[in-house]
């Protein structure tokens, strides 16, 4: 397998990143980078980390010429997962970073501790911390509950001061969305599985409206909606499919309209990506654009209600007219 970190590693180019992955020869992983400048999103890092953990440190290498900006790979903890010795020397405690390095979460208690420990690292205000805690809480829980991943949830995050943005990546090498939804929803393709997972009220544990006592099928829809409201990118990669919610234009006035149907959101998609056995979720949130969290939840809740009501109406028996 080969993962290439380019000099344009943002979510706008996420599909391009995915399409360049070489996931053949799954017993060995090589990580290469652009030779002059490397920019990575936490989502890129957690995918590399998840695959490195899966194949083992002894079978993972960072090869080729790594530019100075590759120091970030070391700071985020990627070198530690490979047999390649880091070429970078720096003070590990230098205060420039507002980042959460690659972390592995196996249990619900790990998750609670991670969320508590993570927020001070990002130096966020109380209001902004709420959004980040919410997103990570829901995404990590999805992995622990639905992915059946032996290696847990791999998480990393970065705060970008200049753009006041938090980027988050969460990855697992579990069963993927297609298998997770197969019992009750029977998606035909990986892209159909991703879109089902983004639809309000769809959970892998039942087809009943209202879900089970444990699951309602709201988590990913809420997160996609939070991201859309903050006018940024959200991406999921699982199996052969990749879906990227595109940025809602900043010059468009008013709150972005939330859609229950992911097809109605402006997005890129492919069902021909290199096959990845697992799920990767990537999130960017622009904190300037985040309204009061209560208001945000209220708006999302309204769309969720309407979607559930509409799906229920679609099941009603219709009168027989002659």
């Amino acid at each position: 397998m080969n993962i290439y970190f380019s000099n344009q590693g943002n979510l706008r180019n996420f599909q391009s990143f995915v399409e360049k992955l070489d996931l053949t020869n799954p017993s060995r992983l090589e990580i290469t980078t652009h030779d002059r400048w490397v920019t990575v999103h936490p989502a890129h890092l957690v995918l590399a980390a998840a695959l490195a953990i899966e194949v083992g440190r002894e079978n993972t290498e960072i090869v080729g010429k790594i530019p100075d900006s590759g120091r970030y790979l070391d700071r985020m903890g990627l070198y530690k997962l490979t047999k390649t010795k880091s070429p970078f020397n720096y003070h590990k405690k230098e205060p420039a970073g507002r980042f959460v390095p690659i972390s592995v979460i196996h249990t619900a208690d790990d998750q609670s501790k991670f969320i508590t420990d993570m927020i001070p690292l990002l130096h966020l205000s109380e209001e902004n911390a709420k959004v980040v805690k919410y997103i990570i809480g829901e995404l990590v829980r999805n992995v622990l509950e639905h992915s059946l991943a032996q290696d847990g949830a791999i998480v990393a995050a970065q705060y970008f001061k200049k753009t006041n943005r938090v980027s988050i990546g969460i990855c697992d090498t579990g069963i993927g969305l297609w298998k997770s939804l197969q019992t009750y929803w029977h998606p035909k393709t990986d892209i159909e599985a991703i879109k089902l997972a983004l639809t309000p009220g769809v959970t892998g544990t039942t087809r009943h409206e209202g879900g089970t006592s444990e699951n309602a099928g709201a988590g990913l829809f809420f997160i996609k909606s939070i991201v859309k409201t903050t006018r940024n990118y959200f991406a999921i990669y699982s199996g052969n499919a990749e879906y990227t919610l595109l940025k809602y234009r900043s010059d468009t006035k008013g709150t972005p309209k939330l859609n229950a149907d992911p097809n109605r959101d402006k997005h890129n998609e492919t069902n021909n990506a290199p096959s990845f056995d697992g799920t990767l979720v990537a999130v960017d949130i622009t904190l300037d654009e985040t309204p009061e969290f209560t208001e945000l939840l209220s708006n999302i809740g309204k769309v969720y209600d309407e979607a559930i009501r509409e799906r229920k109406r679609n099941k009603y028996r219709m009168p027989r007219f002659e």
Binding site: A108, D109, Q111, S112, I115, T116, E126, K130, K133, Y134, G137, E138, R141, E145, G201, H208, E209, G210, G211, T212, S213, E214, N215, A216, A218, G219, F222, F293, T294, L297, S298, I300, G301, Y304, D305, I308, R309, K312
Partner: protein, 100 residues
């Protein structure tokens, strides 16, 4: 009889651990509602909650006890975010129960 559950002591300041929600539901909320007791969930000191947590906490009581749950479950000191999430869960659960 009134049962008071101090959430902060059980879940910390951010309510996201669904295992803990399930434990509170099974060990405290369901038995108390079975005895037709009022259950006061006190969120004092809890800053936020995920929808998944609140769903795991109260959807089964609503589904199984219906009006008894609506009458007897009381949420104390819930901030606006937590109130909003509880309200969302109430609405979609009632939709699913045909009570809307």
């Amino acid at each position: 009889m009134k049962k008071v559950i101090k959430m902060r002591e059980l879940i910390g300041d951010f309510a996201e651990n669904k295992d803990k929600a399930k434990k509170i539901r099974i060990e405290q909320i369901m038995p108390a509602l079975s005895r037709e007791e009022e259950v006061s969930l006190d969120f004092n000191g809890v800053d936020g909650a995920t929808q998944s947590f609140i769903h795991a906490l109260i959807s089964q009581p609503i589904r199984e006890f219906g009006n008894l749950a609506f009458d007897n479950l009381v949420y104390k000191n819930a901030n606006d975010d937590i109130r909003e999430i509880i309200s969302i869960v109430y609405r979609y659960m009632q939709e699913s129960l045909d009570r809307a």
